[in-house]
Amino acid sequence: MDSSDLVKPSAGELIQGCIKKDKRAWEIFVERYSKVIYWAIRDRLKRFGYNFEDEDINDIHQDVFIALWAGNKLAQLKDSEKVAGWLVMIAGNAAIDYFRRTKRQSPPNSISIYEEIYKNGDGEARTLEEVLPSKAAGPDREAQLGEAREVLKSAIGSLKPKERIAVKLNLLHGMKHGEIADALKLPVNTVSTTIARAKKYLKEKLEGNRLL
C-alpha cells in the first residue's frame, strides 16, 4: 500500500492499522507519536530524580514501541482520541520499570515522594517545606517539619478522594486550578472552592498542632 493512501489518517485508523500489523500505518504512527513518548520518558526520569543519560531514554523509547507493536498493547486502548495521554502513561511506567530492571533503582515511595520528586522539580512545583514553612530554625526545624508532614498526611487522608487529587495536583504538582478542572472534568469554581476549603482545613490542623 502506498503511503499516500494513509495521508493524515485519524488516530483511530492508524491504531487499527497497527493492530492489523500494517507496516505503513506503523511508520506513520512512530513518526507521529515518537516526540510525545520521548518527552514523557524524559519528564518522568527528571521528576523522579533518576540519574540518566540519552542512551537510557533511547532504550526506553525502543522498549515502549516494542510493547506497542510486538506486544499488541495498542489493542488495550479504549479511547483512540486520548492516545497521546495514554502513551505518556505507558512511557512513564516503562521508564520506572527500566530503572528498576537495569539499575535496580525503585521509584520514590509513597511518603517521601513529595521531597524526592520536587528536589529536582521543574521550578513550578513546591516542596512541603515551601508550601507550609516552619517557624522554627536550626535543629528544631527538621523535627517540626517531620511533625508537620505527619499532620498533613493524616489531614489530607481525611479529605474526599476527588478533593485529595485536586489538592495534591495543586500543592504538590504545581498544576493551576484551570488545568486541574480540565483534567478532572470539573467546573473551575468547584476546583477553586475545593482547594481553598482544603487549604483552610489543613491550616487549621497545623495551627491546632501549633505548627504554624
Binding site: K21, S34, V36, K82, P161, L169, E179
Partner: protein, 162 residues
C-alpha cells in the same frame, strides 16, 4: 523481546488501574460506578497521580504541537521493529506455502488419498493466503480506495457542480 514486553507491566504496583482506565478517567469517559474506585486509588497512589498529571500535560502539549524534537535515529530504530517482525512472518508464510504445494502434489502421487490431500491443500492454502502480508496489504489498500471513492461521491452529492 517477549521478556521486555512482560516487564513493562511491572512498573505499576499490583492493584493499580491500567493506563487505559486512567486515560478514560482523565477523559471523563468512565461511568460513575467506575470512577469512584479509580478516584480512591489515584488519591492515594503517587505513581498513578503522576500518571494523571503527565497524561494531561502530554495530551495538551501534543495537541498544541509544543513538544521538543525526538531524534531521527531512534525513530528509524522504532520503525524497524515492524520489519524485524515481518522477517519472521515471511519464513512462516513460506512454510505454509511449501506445505500447500506438498499436499497438492501428494494428492496426485497418492491417488488413494486424493480427496484427503486436496482438502489439506485447500486448508493450508487458505492459511497461507490469510497470513500473507502482501495479500492483506492489498485488501487494506482496496478497502482504502473504496472508502475514498465513497467519500468523493458523498462530497460531490453535498456540493454539486453548477
Amino acid at each position: 523481546m517477549g521478556e521486555k514486553m512482560t516487564k513493562l507491566h511491572e512498573a505499576k504496583a499490583a492493584g493499580c488501574p491500567d493506563e487505559a482506565a486512567l486515560a478514560a478517567f482523565l477523559g471523563g469517559k468512565l461511568k460513575e460506578t467506575g470512577t469512584r474506585p479509580i478516584e480512591e486509588h489515584v488519591a492515594g497512589c503517587p505513581i498513578c497521580l503522576e500518571n494523571v498529571r503527565a497524561g494531561y500535560l502530554g495530551e495538551r502539549l501534543y495537541n498544541e504541537k509544543d513538544l521538543p524534537e525526538s531524534n531521527t535515529e531512534i525513530i528509524r530504530k522504532a520503525k524497524g521493529i515492524a520489519k524485524m517482525d515481518s522477517r519472521k512472518k515471511r519464513i512462516q508464510t513460506g512454510l505454509w506455502l511449501t506445505a500447500t504445494i506438498a499436499a497438492f502434489a501428494l494428492s496426485f502421487t497418492a491417488p488413494k488419498y486424493f480427496a484427503q490431500f486436496l482438502v489439506a491443500a485447500l486448508i493450508l492454502g487458505f492459511k497461507w493466503v490469510s497470513e500473507s502480508e502482501s495479500i492483506r496489504t492489498l485488501i487494506v489498500a482496496m478497502d482504502a480506495k473504496r472508502r475514498h471513492e465513497q467519500e468523493k461521491e458523498i462530497t460531490n452529492r453535498i456540493s454539486p457542480r453548477s
